[in-house]
Amino acid sequence: MHSVQHHGQQPRRPDLPHCCQPLSPFHNLQELRHSASLANKVFIQRDYSEGTTCRFQTKFPSELESRIERTLFEDTVKTLNNYYAEAEKIGGQSYLEGCLACSTAYLIFLCMETRYEKVLKKIAKYIQEQNEKIYAPRGLLITDPIERGMRVIEISIYEDRGSSDSSSGSSSSS
């Protein structure tokens, strides 16, 4: 059972506004999950204005207004959109891959992974990096859209339980 640890006051970060000061030092995301409680989830829906290609809306949700700067959030979503566009791009390389795969009766995918899968791995790494550097210190967590069927970007908002309920802090992590 993960015990709740309080590392003491987190030093103020002068680069962040008052509303976005880090709640507590989350050294890793596991700690975030276990020592804070889930308060709310925000879902960023898909943007279908350009067709069926994977794009997410860049509209800044109101629930995050006090947690993170608008520009950081928009940057994250735009980068993700770019990654997905790269994965689904129809061009020379994808045709080559398609024809090669067809000519080998798709057996080539037993040894090689598709370009889409390669980009998805890059996306997973990017999301983890964003979580560690930007979102976890603000008590937020981004879930990779692939785990939600590419329908939504799920952002979990955690509330730091702090010292007020440290006595019952272990009850939900049993």
Binding site: L38, Q45, G51, I90, G98, A105, T114, R151
Partner: protein, 510 residues
């Protein structure tokens, strides 16, 4: 927190009673060690083989027929006609035939066994979030909320996105819900019984290559069997030729009837690919110019060549349903929101709804045990409808949980704020007592087709048994044990989930 209190109380009650009771259920909250793969609790009506690697529709009889027809015809061709043709004409014929046959088989199996592009159903939190947004948008909430649609402008054309009640999502454009497989499929073309699977975004190119290569193979066999018979009849007469190779007759018959349908289908799909439409859209005439002067296909790339390349050689998206992944049991879920609309499955923070089926099974066992010995005096005048036992406790988690989810979906899912409305409290208590995490399953089964099933599985709250230690939990909360008829008068509720309304209407008609 309410739940935290009852949970801790439950635990202490268990420790008191465990010596007395002889129920097989000790600690339902202990984590099960054998990990399950996600395909084992997949909510759609699909069949999985090879530990989740192969995915097919439920009805596969016609697929086996297709397979048999192809294998038998080709087998006869290679056995009876090819030796003659190889000697008389050229050995290249069996080689080409062989290559075509392998290609046909490969694409057929690839089409049938792969995931067509199934969209996973919404998680409880997502569904709740959408519901909230829809209610906000709708304003007034009647018993039957209007059909939920969203409009989107794609490349200048207005497209309506429909809300899928089964999957609890707004379907992306070009997606459709297959009623046979009970899944939403991306870029849904059609459900092909010959192939035993839906044809959608991920397997459309294999399907196309299958019918194309099959038309070549059929024409190839047809032509060369006729050649064979003609050559033989030059030597020994027509009737003798037929006697010498009787298989040829069968092959000709099969090929003759196949050619028309398969070549026709290939031609049709070639047209669909070149104009970047799905069978669905073509049949409905969604983008036909007859609908309006400005109606055009927003997905088309402009020219035939690009459309074909995009459909056949474009990137292949990965499967979204992760069949062989293991079910995670520690995903946190939200506490129910306070606006009256909530999801039962979201009340537990530790259990994901996927592995809750174990608890559903345990809960069901409880229910069945209790149903055998009536616990409480029944005060309602409504006849009791007992649950039919699930066929086997573990195999149909969704349906198992439906038996418990029945009364729960019929009851208001919000918090029982007015303390004077005893029915709501008793119902909430009943549902609160049972370790129901599988309520999230019920949302998968809120499809209208499930209603007749749900109807027969409803329990009155009185029939809901109290697992050891549960009943005393009720008293500190201030509920009386003399439960009244626990069903809501539909007229007294304003905001109800559509399914619960339907459930109530059905119940009141019993």
């Amino acid at each position: 927190m309410h739940l935290g209190v009852s949970e801790s109380m439950r635990e202490c009650e268990y420790s008191q009673i465990s010596t007395r009771s002889s129920t097989p259920m000790e600690t339902p909250y202990k984590k099960r060690t054998p990990k399950m793969r996600k395909w084992e609790s997949f909510p759609g009506r699909n069949k999985f083989y090879c530990n989740g690697r192969i995915m097919m529709a439920k009805q596969t009889g016609v697929f086996y027929l297709t397979l048999v027809l192809i294998l038998v015809t080709c087998g006869l061709f290679f056995t009876f006609d090819c030796p003659f043709l190889a000697l008389e004409l050229t050995p290249v014929i069996p080689v080409i035939g062989g290559v075509l046959f392998l290609f046909v088989l490969g694409t057929l199996l690839r089409t049938s066994f792969s995931d067509p592009g199934v969209l996973p159903r919404a998680t409880p939190d997502e569904a709740a979030d959408l519901e909230r947004q829809i209610d906000v948008a709708n304003g007034s909430t009647g018993y039957r909320p209007p059909p939920r649609t969203k409009e989107v402008v794609i490349n200048g054309q207005t497209v309506k996105l429909k809300y899928c009640f089964t999957c609890k999502i707004f379907r992306p454009p070009r997606a459709s819900h297959c009623s046979l497989c009970d899944n939403c499929v991306e870029r849904f073309d059609h459900h092909c019984p010959w192939v035993g699977n839906c044809v959608g975004r991920r397997n459309y190119r294999f399907f196309y290559m299958f019918i194309l290569s099959l038309s070549f193979l059929t024409i190839f066999i047809f032509a060369f069997v006729i050649t064979h018979v003609i050559l033989r009849s030059h030597r020994s007469g027509f009737l003798n030729a037929l006697k010498d190779s009787p298989a040829s007759v069968l092959e000709v018959v099969v090929c003759f009837f196949s050619v028309w349908s398969i070549v026709g289908l290939s031609g049709f799909h070639t047209y669909l690919i070149s104009s970047n439409q799905t069978t669905n859209e073509d049949i409905k005439g969604s983008w036909s110019s007859k609908r309006g002067k400005d109606n055009y296909n927003p997905y088309s790339h402009g020219n035939i060549f690009t459309n074909c390349c995009a459909a056949l050689c474009g990137p292949l998206p990965p499967s979204l349903i992760d069949r062989r992944g293991f079910i995670q049991s520690d995903t946190p879920q939200l506490a129910p929101p306070t606006n009256g609309i909530t999801m039962y499955g979201a009340t537990q923070s530790q259990q994901s709804h996927m592995c809750d089926q174990d608890q559903c099974i345990q809960s069901t066992k409880f229910v069945l045990q209790a149903a055998a010995t009536p616990l409480l005096q029944q005060q309602s005048s409504q006849p009791v409808i007992l649950t039919a036992s699930p066929e086997n406790g573990g195999s149909l988690p969704g349906r198992t949980s439906l038996t418990l989810g029945g009364p729960c979906t019929s009851l208001p899912l919000g918090q029982p704020t007015p303390p004077t409305s005893t029915p709501s409290l008793s119902c909430h208590e009943a549902t609160d007592m049972l370790p129901i995490h599988g309520h999230s399953h019920t949302h998968n089964h809120s499809h209208p087709h499930q209603e007749p099933v749900a109807h027969h599985h409803f329990l009155t709250p009185e029939e809901v048994p109290s697992p050891p230690g549960m009943l005393p939990c009720g008293s500190p909360l201030g509920h009386s044990h003399t439960m009244q008829a626990g069903f809501y008068n539909p007229a007294s509720q304003d905001s109800l989930h559509e399914d619960s309304v339907r459930g109530l209407v059905k119940l009141s008609s019993v």
